[in-house]
Symmetry: C2
Subunit: 418 residues, 2 copies
């Protein structure tokens, strides 16, 4: 059944609540009551028994949604919300956060197997997957991202920072962790709209080769490079990072690993191995991760990030870095910074929701609303992690003697070279 | 054949160098020439062909040593050195460092299997293994460790620090990473001579329950606690950490994980799970690690650390922390600090080598000399790593908003409570 069929059905007149509906509702209510959620059926039926005030209500419009929520809640909650077969009363963020507490993130071997058996992100699939998400139109993202279009976790170095400041602080944190030196050669795998590549070239004087397979992003990045007079220092390449050749001082990848998939980890490892100079080389991976192996939420994979997979630190360290002959130098978990970043995005998105709905339709707008609220909840509750991992060839000296050095300078142009 | 037999044989008159000896020597010379080492046989025979000056010489005394070095170099180098069947000409540290470069530390699945099949460190075996190393006599360690008897990697926060200062800086770094608060309850698994437990209680005002199964160390630690008037705040328990009960704010273990062994990782995980408070709890593991799974050097396991195993970060994160419902918050690799620590120990050990030889015998003295020099080389070359891992229950807030906080205070009694 196609999405449009579901939508048509949900708009039909609601049938009577049957004995089966009440039985399904009772089971569902029992499952969500522990986290303070109340279920309401299309005729107002409510089986909430707890004495405490609920965090929010799930208002369900039909039997198929009740069934879907019981059988495959991960997929169905999103589908039903998107199609208006389910409405949320109260704060969407609060409700999603409560729901995410229903899943204790402990080891799941079946999840791991499913992920391992999932389709490989070949070069062709990657191009299609990336196109799905990142080629929605730069103007779409410009409406609610920061002015530099940084679509990854920010670093609220100072708790009072704006999103714009925190994104620049993140770019700078990455540069400082990498101890970039003037005229060094940097390879970036998956460069988004080019903010990091341009920041590195502008403030640290390095030369950057930045790979991306999103045409829309590349066009934007090249224009920015030209405006900033950095086209001679930053080359934006319309190609898969797996085709990269040559030797570099630094490898960096921010928010791309989530799109790589477990089965391509050895390939990523071999790219790192052949591109990073052994003596004095180093790199940084910034990625959404997990404590335990588990596939990405089914709805997110279907509607938002096809081919996405958030790995554990163990998987990245054993399957990407170790085979590349790299030692882990430093790991930082920034999950609460991502929760805050997402709260900013969500707030900005809500401010332009009407415009998004007018242009892309209601389903799209509701899907993005849920994706942003749900992601914030996942990071706030510890269901997902955000790791920055610094690595270096095992036989090479780590980039710093103590990492206190990383924090000694403020972000205020100490490294300004232009 | 027992060690004493080998020793007797090595003292016998050396036989002629045969054709077989020359053939073995040629193969061995070929293997070690790449790292600049020269082989010399008992009659002066030397097959070194390289045009470059050697880093050092291995002088071999008999055929069985030639054979041993070819067949099982990891075990035999140590055995032969200890028994004087092999002498090193030139710097022992330099030679061992060169030898360690012969092993590219890339994944070895057989090593991993061997480690997995190794005997379990049951409570009884652990007691025996610990006794083997740590009950050599406090006065032995007092001769060459720092004044606080800290027998783990120091932190040379400032490159000019003495060993004493760097050990205190390490203790303090651990406290700062853990954000200890006055009157919190801390459990320490494997407390050595008690330096960390006493530091935490003295400067951060926490209450510590510290486990150890080395009688000699415990006696020393209790005496120190009494001298410092801290007996009411620090309890040193003569028991296996696996028997720990109760709930604590903080779990800490410095240099014990290497003695746990892979097969007991789930048990350690369950101890962490049941002892760390979920809301606001956190912990730190400080351990010798590897980039890839590989058993500890065979000679080190035989003579120095029976039952020892240095795990990878992936193993610790997937087999200890994830099953305990803990998120990795922060990882720091301090391998070069351990190389420097070991250089200090080695230098101090050499200064008292005569006394050690007089009391414990030549074999013991040579074994320790090699162990210290070899360990320094292993950390200097990246063959081994030193990880500090901060963790917290996944649903709990990490102990700090940004880790810059860890570096904001100097070690100068900011937290002094007495």
């Amino acid at each position: 059944m196609k999405a449009t069929d579901v939508q048509l059905q949900s708009r039909a007149a609601h049938p009577e609540v049957t004995v089966l509906d009440r039985w399904l509702a009772m089971r569902l209510q029992r499952a969500i009551e522990a986290v303070g959620l109340r279920l309401e059926l299309w005729d107002g039926t409510c089986l909430y028994a707890s004495g405490t005030r609920p965090i929010g209500d799930l208002v369900v419009r039909n039997t198929r949604t009740l069934l879907g929520l019981l059988v495959n809640p991960d997929l169905w909650f999103g589908e039903a919300f998107m199609m208006r077969d389910l409405e949320v009363r109260g704060s969407l963020e609060g409700v999603v956060e409560a729901l995410s507490r229903l899943h204790p993130p402990f080891p799941s071997h079946t999840g791991f197997l499913r992920a391992a058996l999932a389709r490989r992100n070949t070069r062709r699939h990657s191009r299609r997957n990336v196109h799905h998400h990142y080629d929605l139109g730069n103007d779409f993202y410009e409406q609610w991202l920061d002015t530099d279009l940084v679509y990854t976790c920010a670093f609220f170095e100072d708790a009072t920072m704006t999103l714009e400041e925190a994104q620049r602080a993140k770019l700078d944190l990455v540069c400082r962790k990498l101890r970039l030196q003037r005229d060094e050669r940097v390879i970036e795998a998956g460069c988004g709209w080019g903010a990091l590549a341009l920041h590195m070239a502008r403030y640290y004087g390095v030369r950057v080769l930045a790979f991306n397979i999103s045409r829309e992003q590349l066009a934007y990045a090249r224009e920015r490079a030209s405006e900033l007079g950095l086209s001679d220092r930053v080359e934006f390449v319309d190609d898969d990072y797996r085709n990269a050749r040559g030797e570099f001082d630094v490898f960096v990848s921010i928010g791309m690993l989530e799109h790589v998939g477990l089965r391509e980890f050895p390939t990523l490892g071999s790219v790192i191995r052949r591109t990073v100079r052994r003596a004095g080389g180093r790199g940084l991976l910034h990625f959404i991760g997990r404590d335990v192996p588990r596939p990405l939420n089914a709805w997110i994979r279907r509607r938002i990030f096809p081919g996405g997979y958030a790995p554990t630190l163990a998987q990245v360290s054993a399957r990407v870095l170790a085979p590349a002959g790299m030692s882990v130098i430093d790991v930082e978990n920034l999950r609460l910074h991502y929760a805050r970043t997402l709260a900013h995005w969500h707030e900005r998105f809500q401010a332009v929701a009407d415009r998004v709905r007018a242009r892309y339709g209601e389903q799209f707008e509701r899907a993005w609303e849920l994706y942003l609220a749900g992601s914030r909840a996942a990071f706030a509750t510890g269901w997902m992690q955000l790791f920055q991992v610094v690595f270096a060839p095992f036989e090479s000296e780590p980039p710093y003697w103590t990492r206190a050095e990383v924090y000694r300078e403020n972000y205020s142009g100490v490294h300004l070279t232009r």
